[in-house]
């Protein structure tokens, strides 16, 4: 039952990635990243033992622990990426505000 729920979620999440790629909200690199990620997760759902083998090679006892650590690292990275993007948007808005305000002032003076 749990497997069915997880697969349904993956199909839903991957369909979102496909739609976003089709309407060009994301580029080919991001689309390939999500495709790779969900493929790996699907493989692990059907063959959980693979994660144990991978975990052991990194010196971590269980595959579930390795997945947990990896998730935290990925989440932090995603947060950092989001922060950088929001910061850039914020700077762009400031640049725009400064330029428009200076132009309006010049216009008023004429």
């Amino acid at each position: 039952m749990l497997k069915i729920i997880l697969i349904a979620f993956i199909v839903f999440a991957f369909s979102r990635a496909v739609l976003r790629f089709r309407d060009k909200s994301i580029g080919i690199r991001e689309f390939l990243f999500w495709t790779f990620l969900w493929t790996i997760v699907t493989i692990l759902i059907f063959n959980p033992n693979i994660s144990d083998i991978a975990a052991t090679s990194f010196g971590i006892g269980r595959g579930a622990d390795a997945a947990f650590f990896l998730s935290i690292i990925l989440l932090f990275y995603a947060m950092f990426r989001l922060y950088v993007k929001i910061d850039k948007l914020d700077r762009d808005i400031t640049d725009l505000t400064v330029e428009v305000s200076k132009k309006l002032r010049e216009h008023d003076r004429l």
Partner: protein, 233 residues
């Protein structure tokens, strides 16, 4: 000392956000001290700040939306650099904390070609400034933090009262839109190899200015932003 006596193009830049209650008085004080070139950068105020500043005799540049003190200062400095070719820009708070009598002393090191940037300091010597204890502790922590991060030794790092000479006006680029711009300016001193000096200034704390000023917890936010900016850049 005034603009004419030294034949210099001096501009007083006052960033203002919802300062309608006091802005006219601040401008009158600056004008009475002999400075006629006053640019108020209205930071998208929702009140009558711009109208009152105009009526009080200042030039007004209004930001179309509120972006913070750093953005307002940046706009004022950029605008003057592009249109007026100023020799000296003095940044002055709109809430009545600063005294126009201190402007002359602040400009002097630039006039005498001893500095490119002059920073006002409320801690440099006993000058009658009574600073609330909590504010003192927070400011001292901020000073220590900024000194470590920027490598520039100063006695007061978040004082908006400063004078910029021609080189500084050309070289200093403010990218931080909030109060973090104060740390950014200090960072610029070492990066752009600007000559700087601190001058004692008096800060007039009132219920109004304390209410309008940064709450102490905001300094933690400023510190975090400075660190994150260094990581991103």
């Amino acid at each position: 000392m005034n603009t004419d006596s030294h034949n210099r193009n001096v501009w007083i830049v006052i960033p203002a956000y919802n300062e309608g209650a006091v802005i006219a008085g601040v401008i009158a004080q600056v004008r009475a001290a002999g400075y006629k070139n006053i640019l108020v950068v209205d930071d998208g105020s929702a009140d009558t700040t711009a109208d009152k500043a105009r009526k009080a005799g200042a030039e007004v540049l209004s930001l179309v939306i509120n972006r913070g003190q750093g953005a307002a200062l940046r706009t004022g400095i950029e605008y003057l650099r592009e249109t007026e070719d100023p020799d000296i820009i003095v940044t002055f708070d709109a809430d009545g904390q600063h005294r126009s009598e201190d402007i002359a002393a602040l400009m002097l090191p630039i006039v005498e070609d001893r500095a490119d940037v002059v920073l006002g300091s409320r801690f440099l010597e006993k000058n009658g400034t009574e600073i609330p204890l909590i504010r003192t502790l927070v400011l001292k922590a901020g000073i220590l933090f900024t000194n470590i991060v920027s490598g520039v030794r100063l006695t007061d790092t978040h004082n908006g009262f400063r004078a910029l000479g021609k080189k500084a006006i050309r070289e200093i680029g403010i990218t931080q839109r909030g109060m973090e711009h104060a740390s950014e300016i200090i960072d610029c001193l070492s990066r752009k190899q600007l000559r700087y000096v601190e001058v004692p200034v008096h800060i007039e704390y009132s219920d109004y200015s304390l209410g309008k000023g940064q709450c102490s917890s905001a300094f933690i936010k400023i510190g975090a932003k400075v660190i994150v900016k260094k990581l991103i850049d």
